[in-house]
Symmetry: C2
Subunit: 345 residues, 2 copies
Amino acid sequence: MKAIHMYGAGDVRSIDVPDPALENGTDAIVRVVRACVCGSDLWPYREMPAGADGQAMGHEAIGVVEELGRDVHGLRRGDLVVMPMFAADGTCGFCREGAPYGCERITFFGRAGFAGAQAEAVRVPFAAANLVRVGAEADDALLASLLTLSDVMGTGHHAAVVSGVKAGDTVVVVGDGAVGLCGVIAAARRGAERIIVLGRHRDRTDLAREFGATDVVSERGEEAAQRVRELTAGTRGAHAVLECVGTEEATATAIAVARPGAGLARVGVPHYPAVPQAMTAWVKNLRVGGGPTPVRAYLDELLPDVLDGTIRPGRIFDRTVGFDGVSGAYAAMAGRDALKVLIAP
Amino acid sequence: MKAIHMYGAGDVRSIDVPDPALENGTDAIVRVVRACVCGSDLWPYREMPAGADGQAMGHEAIGVVEELGRDVHGLRRGDLVVMPMFAADGTCGFCREGAPYGCERITFFGRAGFAGAQAEAVRVPFAAANLVRVGAEADDALLASLLTLSDVMGTGHHAAVVSGVKAGDTVVVVGDGAVGLCGVIAAARRGAERIIVLGRHRDRTDLAREFGATDVVSERGEEAAQRVRELTAGTRGAHAVLECVGTEEATATAIAVARPGAGLARVGVPHYPAVPQAMTAWVKNLRVGGGPTPVRAYLDELLPDVLDGTIRPGRIFDRTVGFDGVSGAYAAMAGRDALKVLIAP
């Protein structure tokens, strides 16, 4: 089958690999219907040393169940399923607490040697615990939205949950990438009254407004913080801040615009060694959280809203490619020509 | 009256200053019955540049109401009261939310030009909102415990609240100073099953055991983290971590010993520019909080437990001085000869 592997910075290839096969009784083989490129895939695309061994890519997919191990219950061949970005065993203490990122048997797709979801098919461990049946017919638009439940919409939701967004809040979303836009959706969904998005790409911030953003701040760094402080003078900053970039500057801005007692979620993979502004965050008594999204734990809540059209996160995809176009998709996303690229095998 | 002022590193003096007077109708004048030296007072004691203007010191006190402004209701002259370490207006949105550290009219005693509580008397703004009547007779031991409610016991409690300590948890307390010991009390009070304290002063860790600590780790840095990981292998780290030192090393250790999904409170005044281990904290989805303690918000909960002897935080005081002995008290605490010094004017 075809699969996308990365061999170094800027070097993404569609190659032929053996079809995945069941290895354990709890496995399933899923034929991928839609996959996509994640913002986090762009970090290795910029930084990965060139080397002989390629890394299978991709951790976001929806697909159809093709094969089931003998111990998998609750799923049938032919089911359309959402595949969370990592698989956990579903039975350990962490999984039962809704914190599957702590599971010792975790499998991150497309990371550290595991097979990826940017492929025609993927083996999913602990399938019953991870795969979620869609249970409905889906057109292209709905498939796109369902795909976002595999990671990016869940991640925006995670940011809103961790930062504690509640009805009536003033919320700041730092970043107008795919995660930031999903953060806007999530904040609006939880009843935020005011949603200020920090971004400078007009097409993205326009989409943010359609998703519920009430204000756009296009400045960066201290200027952005100053502008947000003006906008939020009445509440002395934001009740909740969603840091959706992963840089030190974005994190410093997030801390600067938070009101005392605010929650701050950093859901961009951090590309900085230490969280800046330790004293400012302390003086404000901020609660700072965030990390890998427990996608599976959120699916029961988010899937119905996607199915009935309450939220339409699939609108973040602005380009669709086949496997031959994936290399170009990485380049387009890295060059900010594309927001997020859908892969339709 | 006598008051303690600091003029530079190592230079603490008992001087004569004018008696405080009512300035606003919401003020009270409190005659100080007990005050003390805070670990945070030791930072300027080590670092303050020598200068002409002294800084009034002290933010922890209990005392007797001596004068009341005309707008103060609910208090009477002669009332024994606990004075929270800062005064807020009690009416703004932040105060009503239990987050008085966000109040725009906040007064930090003994900081940035405000009068301090290491004095024979102190003016307390917004007295009705801040002072809490003890409503009971108190002997020396009870006075000492009541005094801790002014800051240090509240701060230990804040650490337990922010880190989310709950019944049955495994908790790590980093630091065996006064705040750390109060953190042990607070964790035990909330039902922690296992409390591991990191400290190397035998008299302090012995007291920690009396307060409820189940394990003592005397190693530091990575060795301490390794030892805690061995002790907590069953839970993959601590459910809650209370960082009660304020250094980068202590914070890194706190992050290292936290289990995935844990809460971490840093309540030591941070003496580091950035919170270390940004990636480790992210991968574990830690919730990191902490800051100035909203003492007043906790008093309704903690005061009854002190009055009925459920908790005896006053045991942290291991020396008592009058005003003439305060300079020596700073030196003793800075030199680790004393844990925490009580001032009995």
